[in-house]
Amino acid sequence: MKNGITNVIVAGLGGQGVLKCSDILSAAIFHAGWNIKKAEVHGMSQRGGSVACDIRFSKDAEVLSPMVPAGQADYLLVLSEDQIDNNLHHLRKDGLLLKPDRIDADKLENARCLNVALLGVLSKEFEIGDKIWHDAIRSQLPENLHDVNIAAFEYGRKN
């Protein structure tokens, strides 16, 4: 953490829910009343290619650029094993890497919830209560996906 700002990068492949995962994280931080900015890229990259999303936040400091400066990510959450090598340069020394192998996919009701399960693991790093996380999940997903995603999140959070 530099200047009181936490830098997170969520990376993976188009279609894995990189944007959704980062939207839930952003919503939770926003509802906690903290300062936050989030940057993402749409379009061409979403056609199955590499996708990455930057989230920067702080309880009290002003967040300026929405993009994580080179090599300054405190947390790197990667949804696909083959996307680790090309994203590792984002992570600062002593930063925390969260890989898909942190989650036992067999324990998930739906394997597509890997993004939210990994977010559950990451959630332990921040002082944000369960209710805010659950509300954030509900605010970003259609109703029929609430329960399965909250279950996946809780699995990650207790992992």
Partner: protein, 536 residues
């Protein structure tokens, strides 16, 4: 009803909300990353939003709406402004009666574009003021400022945003909502709105006088703002910047005072001169062309521009730090990620496999199918701009030796065809190549690449309500093209190969419509039918 609210939204969403809150009567545009979500959001907020076949038509509809006195916005990506340039330059002369805000979304670094042109040049060339927000708060506030400027000075206003404004979510607060004003009675004013040379000569003088007034307004405007250094002691460094570059600069250089320009045309030159006098070193930080640096230097102010290498790609905090340090060393290339690719099950796949196997010379176009250039297909030879597949294909046919000419195929998607492919077909029947030609229209029933938008060939409007559906084959036949075929290439790949061979061998102008819905569009339509938001 809405009241003031704190929100976390993207710049695109903030613009849409601002438009809804200030009573914009009409939003028109053509989808293009990174601008697309503005009209979609505006529609969801209850605004009247519609997709036009292309940006030129969209701007013309916008000009008409503004002539009628309505608050109007037109949206497009940077290359769309090239298409809309013709009405832009003369609408600058006529001015408007209501408000006309033209939103142009640039894509420095080309996340999803064919070039990284800098739209600020258009403001100068056309003589239209330009505002540039730096985050969602400013996207919200400056949009309403643009409406105000447009009404106060009777001018169209260019509203330039970039990828990192459009698609970055930042916190902002909204104002109160006002309802759109009622329609005004039309008042004839031919000297103002009919640009025959006699009236246009007068209008040009008026335009220059108007710009001088706007420049004077800009000298005192709050949107051109100074952020003072947060460091202790004397500040020796001044930075001039706009948009997202100003935000990066504030983070990269706490030792500097920063003049952040919210209006980048006309420039508040007196304010800039006054600012620049205070520092040992004044640096201009900007993405893309050295537009600000050139203009400020030309006005006789001593400022330093960025080294040429920073013209390419986006800026970020790290690159701004390097510019400040005068670092022109080679930048490490980021590790290559996985390139995008056509979806598994995409109907375009079989088409490009066939084009590859038949060793066609493929004149390509803009859309998902541009990915046909990459392995395993490697079946595209040119891609320039929307609609160019047909014209470029015809040029190749006219001048290549016969053996090569017979291999040329133009490949264009359905939305791109509606956008600017129709005139290409007119050219094909008018200036017919000796070997004929083959145009392949990949009709997947959506504007797929930008996120599955509707168009005049889908039978649905922007808000998915029913619309007249243009039948591509009827349109093609109406031009006098007799050799027209419709085929589902996934169902009948062999039949397609035989058909393509036959069309390449004859001397006719042929059109093959490869029709099969985009698999993503099918999912979305199913979700819509179930009355749910598509989950992406």
């Amino acid at each position: 009803m809405s009241g003031i609210k704190r929100k976390l939204l993207s710049g695109n969403e903030a613009v849409a909300l601002s438009a809804a809150d200030c009573g914009v009567r009409m939003g028109v545009g053509y989808p293009g990353t990174p601008s697309t979500e503005i009209l979609e959001e505006f529609s969801k907020l209850g605004g009247r939003a519609q997709w036009s076949p292309n940006e030129k038509v969209a701007l013309e509809v916008g000009v008409g709406a503004a002539f009628a006195g309505a608050r109007t916005m037109v949206t497009m990506k940077h290359v769309g402004l090239n298409v809309a340039a013709d009405p832009l330059f003369t609408a600058a002369y006529t001015g408007v009666d209501g408000a006309l805000v033209i939103i142009v979304a640039d894509d420095p670094g080309m996340a999803s574009s064919q070039n990284e042109q800098d739209s600020r040049r258009y403001a100068v060339a056309a003589g239209v003021p330009m505002l540039e927000p730096a985050d969602s708060q400013e996207a919200y506030d400056f949009f309403q400022l643009a409406v105000q400027l447009s009404e106060q000075f009777g001018t169209a206003v260019l509203f330039r945003i970039t990828t990192r404004i459009c698609h970055s979510k930042t916190i902002f607060t909204t104002g109160e909502r006002v309802a759109p004003a009622d329609a005004k009675k039309f008042v004839r004013d031919v000297q103002k709105r009919v640009m025959i040379p006699a009236y246009a000569r007068m209008a040009h003088h008026k335009l220059r006088a108007r710009l001088a007034e706007i420049e004077a307004w800009g000298e005192a405007a709050d949107c051109n703002q100074i952020f003072h250094s947060t460091d202790k002691g004397q500040t020796l460094l001044g930075i001039i910047a706009s948009g997202i570059s100003a935000v990066h600069a504030r983070e990269a250089a706490s030792q500097a005072d920063i003049l952040k320009l919210g209006m980048t045309y006309p420039l508040p030159i007196e304010k800039i001169k006054k600012f620049a006098k205070n520092y040992d070193r004044v640096l201009v930080i900007e993405e893309g062309d050295p537009y600000l640096a050139d203009a400020i230097q030309a006005a006789g102010v001593e400022v330093e521009g960025k080294p040429e290498m920073y013209r390419f790609g986006e800026l970020n905090v790290t690159r701004v730090q390097k510019i400040l340090a005068g670092d022109v060393g080679e930048e490490p290339a980021p590790p290559r990620g996985k390139p995008p690719q056509l979806c598994v099950g995409c109907p375009h796949r079989k088409v490009f496999e066939t084009l590859r196997d038949l060793e066609c010379i493929v004149s390509g176009d803009i859309g998902c199918y541009t990915l046909g250039v990459l392995p395993p297909f490697s079946a595209m030879d040119t891609c320039v701009c929307m609609g160019a597949s047909i014209g470029v294909g015809l040029g190749l046919r006219h001048t290549l030796a016969e053996e090569d000419a017979r291999r040329v195929v133009s490949v264009i998607g359905d939305s791109t065809f509606m956008h600017s492919g129709i005139t290409g077909l007119v050219e094909m029947v008018y200036n017919r190549p000796a070997t004929g030609h083959v145009v392949l229209i990949l009709d997947n029933g959506t504007t797929a690449m930008t996120g599955l938008q509707e168009h005049p060939g889908t039978g649905r409007k922007l808000d998915y309500s029913p619309a007249h559906q243009i039948c591509v084959e009827d349109l093609v036949k109406s031009l006098g093209i007799d050799d027209v075929h419709v085929i589902d290439v996934v169902k009948d790949t062999e039949g397609f190969q035989e058909l393509l061979k036959k069309c390449l061998a004859n001397d006719e102008p042929s059109v093959i419509i490869a029709r099969r819905p985009c698999i993503l569009a099918l999912k979305k339509q199913k979700a819509l039918q179930q009355g749910k938001e598509a989950c992406q």
